[in-house]
Subunit: 215 residues, 2 copies
């Protein structure tokens, strides 16, 4: 299973010295892919960044694409766990507030924000995937599955009468999670807003709206 | 001045034949930058894509960076015009509905959607800029100005009592325009939703909220 807690402390930088493990190499690779773009990054660039030789990198990983695949799986596994749970609770469950599609939709928004913040580098990479390789196409396929499940959850919440029905559920889903995903462009863990503040703001805006209601 | 109308028809593809002008080269360059990433794209790639020689490209443009700068200016000029107008109307203007900060904020959301759809390739490029060159840093500086003006407009709408005051205006602004900007990732002009439908959905979600109100 997966955790949505914050990632552990960054490994000590030991530039030019041995002791890198695969996790540290993956972390550096994802950072470099996000900064320079995946296609523009070579294993040589990664070696240089880490102060290692290319053979030292290849001691731990078989290819640049393997690192991409691991990073994308990291993000996708977390998001899949969240969406699967949100989809599952609906089956049969009634009586408790969390059992409604509306409750589960609010919950999946909040939990998606948590995953995004805890796994920001790999989610950022995932959101920039363009489908230029087999690994990327497989990731896009998994993203489509997530999008479909989320759209279905929105449709369920409309069907149970909790959400307005004048905007197509598939469009609502894209815009709602587009707002969530836009976090990767600016969110900083050491910035002005913690995860709960951001999740609260998104649910407040999306579900209740910005306008002051007359009632 | 600028227009927010749709771009003209695509130029006929005349692969390997003369007759490309700078506009057609710019259009192809932006498409290639978005597909492969700017850093991973060379003038040689662009020449190959167009079926031209590199000297033929250099007959029209001085560098890859010049093309990037032109594309970013295209997007930024449009967005700046929209935001400047939305900021300006507030000065003094009262009595008409459009004169309120709230009215201008709703309007700037709608007009941003129109710019994004009409200039999707260059706005996509703008949103992916990471600051790896002088041209990119200048674009980021202009984006910051836009972000500041939009946050100020949200703050004005809160101050006039039209918007809820329990979410920081700067956070509202980021999330609201994050939702707008997320369009570049999936919107297709020939898809299921026209510009008005998308703009209407965004304003409905953000200002009025998805939840059915009891009143």
């Amino acid at each position: 299973m997966t955790t949505t807690g914050p990632a552990g402390p960054a490994p000590r930088r030991r530039r030019g010295r041995p002791g890198y493990d695969q996790t540290a190499i993956l972390r550096a690779a994802v950072e470099l892919f996000n900064r320079k773009g995946y296609d523009a990054t070579s294993v040589g660039d990664l070696a240089k960044e880490l102060g290692l030789t290319k053979p030292a990198i290849y001691h731990h990983v078989t290819s640049k694409e393997q690192l991409l695949g691991q990073a994308l799986d990291d993000a996708l596994d977390e998001l899949t766990a969240v969406v699967t749970e949100a989809s599952r609770e609906g089956a049969g469950g009634a009586g408790n507030a969390g059992g409604t599609a509306y409750g589960r939709l609010r919950d999946v928004v909040r939990r998606s924000v948590e995953v995004l913040v805890a796994h920001q580098p790999s989610v950022t990479l995932l959101l920039r995937v363009r489908g230029n390789s087999e690994v990327e196409l497989a990731a896009l396929e998994r993203r489509r599955w997530l999008d479909d499940r989320l759209a279905a959850l929105v449709a369920d919440a409309v069907a149970e009468g909790a959400l307005r029905d004048d905007v197509p559920p598939a469009l609502v889903s894209r815009l709602l999670f587009g707002m969530v995903n836009s976090l990767v462009e600016w969110y900083r863990p050491d910035g002005a807003y913690d995860t709960a503040a951001v999740a609260g703001a998104i649910t407040a805006i999306a579900f209740d709206g910005l306008a002051r209601h007359e009632c």
